[in-house]
Amino acid sequence: MKKRLLNIVAGCLLLASCQKLDIPPVNILSDQDVFTSEAGINAYLATVYRKLPIEDFTYRPDGRNDGVGNVGFNLHHEWEHFYCEGAADGEMVGPYGGVDIAGGFGYWPYASIRDVNYFIETLPKYASNFTGDKVSNLLGEAHFLRAYYYFAMAKRYGGIPIIKVVQHYPQQTIEELQVPRNTEEEVWNFIGDDLDTAYQMMGETSAKERANKYVAMALKSRAMLYAGSIARYGSQVFVDGEARSQGFVGISADKAAGYYQKAIDAAKMLEGHYQLYRTKADKIENYVNVFLDPASSENILVRSFYAGDPERNHSFDATFSPNSDMNYMTSGGLSRAYPTLEFVQHFNSFDFVTNADGTPRRYNNQGDMAQGLEPRLRATVYFPGDVLRGQVFDVQAGIYPSFSGTAADEVAKPVGSRSFILSGDHTTLRNGRLIIGKAGMYPPAFGNDNNTRTGFYVRKYIDYTKSISAVNLFTSTTPWIEFRYAEILLNRAEADIETNQTDDALKCINDLRDRAGAALASVGDMTVSTVRNERCKELAFENHYWWDIKRWRIADQLLNNTHFHGLMPYYVESENKYIFLKELELFNRNYYFDKKFYYEAMPGGELATNPNLYPNNPGH
């Protein structure tokens, strides 16, 4: 009985299947499903935005093996945010053994570019489903997205193949698909043109995570500034090679001024639409909130993060403040990257920690040293004695039973012949006082970098409003600000000063300095190095510095077997005072930037599939 029933059912199924075979596959989304509704379009673009090469908290500049080879963006379950650009370029010292990020990770986003090209080709066919200027807006957005992908490649490789249409295989031959490299100049011009198109087609407003016409101009000001400096400084410092002589890397110097002017023009388009954030009267509090207030008038484009799902939040708060293995300021995670003395010296020489006679200045309290420093610096870096979540940055390198002589003599003594007491434990006391403090540094020999190696901790982007118990891995949702108006002012000021438009540069710099609580500049101060220094201060730890020192072509001088320093706090027992000594950071690592690193090598796998990508970049 049972068997007969089965036979009947099977027979019916067989018959039914004959009825209609030629239907569109029901398990695949077709253009019809995606391009006829706004929801479909949003879902399509969400993928493109998620893959957009924004160097946010979770970006890993040297890539991490994610099971599919090295990946730098959209890593699975990434929490080690101290593997950041700043930790390899001298803004900080961190887990990298040196300039370990120069090889990149073979970024090659042509799959995403294809998604954008497909969008540009397909959407017009479904235009009747949308009203008003919606289609034009969306196409403009697509041009912005495409420009962003090309920007991320141009700054790594120079000239790469420009692909504006969807490629088809096997309809097209392999030879057709092996598109040769364009010159670097062609690529930057293409980026500029795409952004102009985006500007013309897009509206003035958008969700804060999506582009509008001003976002396009923000990227244009950045991209054209890069192109200008590559033209000017790349013609002075370069590695010879075939790729250079054929124009695949490098731009002729006489093009520099034109690019700089484009950067200025683009930056000026944003004027009046965005303002520097000035909400709190206290300059330190105000600057801290620039990075935490989602309603900031300065934000142009952000990437949001969401609670709950580990793949959509980040761990910044738990990886840049001391846990000290005792849940000191966080309830999980650990820190491994710390600002250098060289970084804070962009603001101040810190010579004031030493008296005129060379002896270290004595401070009653640890926190006294940082008093009076520029508010922006205080809001960017946590100094010894600062407080976060009710806990003090209690940082000591050790205790001197007594101290005599000059700072220089003391630091020059061979390791082992200095008389201070050190400890590898945050709870060890000497005469009732912690030897290294709860946030202090381990002895160098310990090889433990879970506490500061320089005396400093990062403050920018740290959410001070969270309680200790709320700070753990995968609990942070602070948005990453990809474009903020301060950068636009700096792009403009730098292009200004490079083209002798000093007054406009001064205006931009003083707007920034006023907000930062810094002394205002005068016309006489305005030089290229002043403007660059302002950029280093304002955009610290925001993944700009690495690209800046590369495009200024000074990385090979700044990172020339360089060893970075810290400002080490010690307690002097006999005097009940604190002193600060400028010393090599605990790990004393070596940072070397080879000139060939100004361009990354073309990814080896791509060279193997497309011989037209040769010649490889000089020196590789």
């Binding site: 590695v239 010879d240 090679g241 090979d556 077997n561 060893h563 004393n588 080879d594 000139k595 060939k596 080896g604 060279l607 193997a608 011989p611 040769y614 000089p618 020196g619």
Partner: protein, 240 residues
């Protein structure tokens, strides 16, 4: 029992399957070729003085592909190089990096025991290099720098390299005795005075009772910021 025989059967089947993949052997010859040689200095006809990572011999196997992935053989510190595991074929052989006047790449067939020497002109040669202990812990280095051909890249730095083994040079030296004694020059050769060309470097606080190997280098602002290096001198610091 039934399950067991199925297991055995599937094991046999998979073994057969795996074994069948071994039937087809690849027909390429093994890496039976080798290449070695010396890098000789044009003037003195001696091997050039170099160090680990300074420069390398670049091989591109043109008989394999028109755009082959390059393969670099590092030149060892005595100026020789060798690779005994190469595939026979037609190669482009060139010098990659280093502080020398460029040498045009050459194409050659590499078979077993192929030999290729290169003759190079360094940007500068370091002559009359002496290293003497002036007291129990102080080392004095003297040397003269000469550029055989004018028009060399800008000189960035002159520095001694001290190490406890004879592998000594940029990247293999003791920081305090080497990098801290670096002289920043940043000068074109044409601006060099006679004093610039004849140098003295003093290294204090050498560790008593230890043996050190010392040499000096001149670093250029060329493509890879490489150095010309002196000979290596062995120094014995007297014990206490």
């Amino acid at each position: 029992m039934k399950l067991k025989s199925f297991k055995i059967l599937s094991l046999v089947a998979s073994l057969l399957f795996f074994a069948s993949s071994c039937v087809k052997t690849d027909s390429y010859a093994g890496p039976d070729a080798s290449l070695h040689g010396n890098i000789i200095e044009e003037g003195s006809k001696n091997n050039v003085q170099t160090c680990t990572g300074n420069f390398s011999i670049r091989l591109e196997q043109l008989s394999w592909d028109s755009t082959p992935t390059p393969q670099d053989i590092p030149v060892s510190y005595d100026g020789s190089y060798q690779n005994t595991k190469l595939f026979s074929g037609h190669y482009r052989v060139s010098i990659h990096g280093g502080a020398f006047w460029p040498v045009a790449p050459e194409e050659m067939d590499i078979t077993s025991a192929s030999i290729k020497d290169f003759t190079l002109t360094p940007y500068v040669v370091i002559n009359n290099f002496t290293a003497v202990m002036t007291d129990s812990t102080t080392l004095k280095l003297n040397f003269d720098i000469d550029a055989p051909v004018a028009g060399i890249p800008k000189v960035l730095e002159i520095q001694p390299y001290v190490n406890t083994t004879q592998v000594v040079g940029p990247g293999a030296s003791i920081f305090d005795f080497s990098d801290l004694k670096k002289i920043t020059v940043n000068k074109e050769w044409s601006d060099f005075t006679p004093a610039d060309k004849s140098r003295e470097i003093i290294i204090e606080d050498m560790v008593p009772g230890r043996i050190f190997y010392v040499r000096v280098g001149v670093k250029f602002d060329n493509n890879d910021k490489s150095s010309n290096l002196s000979q290596i001198i062995k120094i014995t610091v007297p014990g206490r």
